[in-house]
């Protein structure tokens, strides 16, 4: 069983579209994250939720909106996609702020 799973794995879409990436963890963790990795492999935190409550919100355009319906799920919705949004988006989870386990990534390409 995959511990942190995210869908879709690959997503190609046109500029201006709206898209969502879904994430689920079955580790019983209480904290979930979204990280973005750009083409230079720079890995940067975007958001963090603890028990459905937003606790970290980095300087991210408000076109990005995370939603956590329960502590096992954290989805990322992106409005009005831009070319610069092309990246790999990793969902991750942890128990408290301890060891962080990453999902397999969602490769987003905006054309």
């Amino acid at each position: 069983d995959t511990a942190v799973s995210q869908t879709p794995k690959y997503l190609v879409t046109q500029m201006g579209n709206d898209k969502s990436i879904k994430c689920e963890q079955n580790l019983g963790h209480d904290t979930m994250y979204w990280y973005k990795q750009d083409s230079k492999k720079f890995l940067k935190i975007m958001f963090s939720y603890n028990n459905k409550e937003l606790i970290i919100n980095e300087t991210v355009p408000n076109r990005f909106s995370p939603k956590s319906p329960d502590k096992a799920h954290l989805n990322l919705h992106i409005n009005s996609l831009e070319l610069g949004d092309s990246a790999v988006y990793f969902c991750a989870s942890s128990l408290g702020g301890n060891t962080i386990y990453f999902g397999e990534g969602s490769w987003l390409t905006v054309v």
Binding site: K40, G96, G97, G105
Partner: protein, 111 residues
Amino acid sequence: QQPVQSPQAVILREGEDAVINCSSSKALYSVHWYRQKHGEAPVFLMILLKGGEQKGHEKISASFNEKKQQSSLYLTASQLSYSGTYFCGTEIGGNTGKLIFGQGTTLQVKP
């Protein structure tokens, strides 16, 4: 606040050793080490919390200096499977779960 990793890239022959350094201008709460293979998620290696701590086993280990501003990852008798990009993720100020990652060190082990 981003930690600085050195070197940026290393090429080794199987059986050789490598050291990857991670330095911060501020005292850290913790350092997390991850390895990422191409097209895959970062995989947790270890976490260091205490100044002067050394952790790991004889093949892959890490240290955290007394001032908690530098950590080193030691790869001994490298194997082909060690190839990948190594990231240190640092926490400042407490157990926030907010990891600030270094720019990564690419390690290539050749037969």
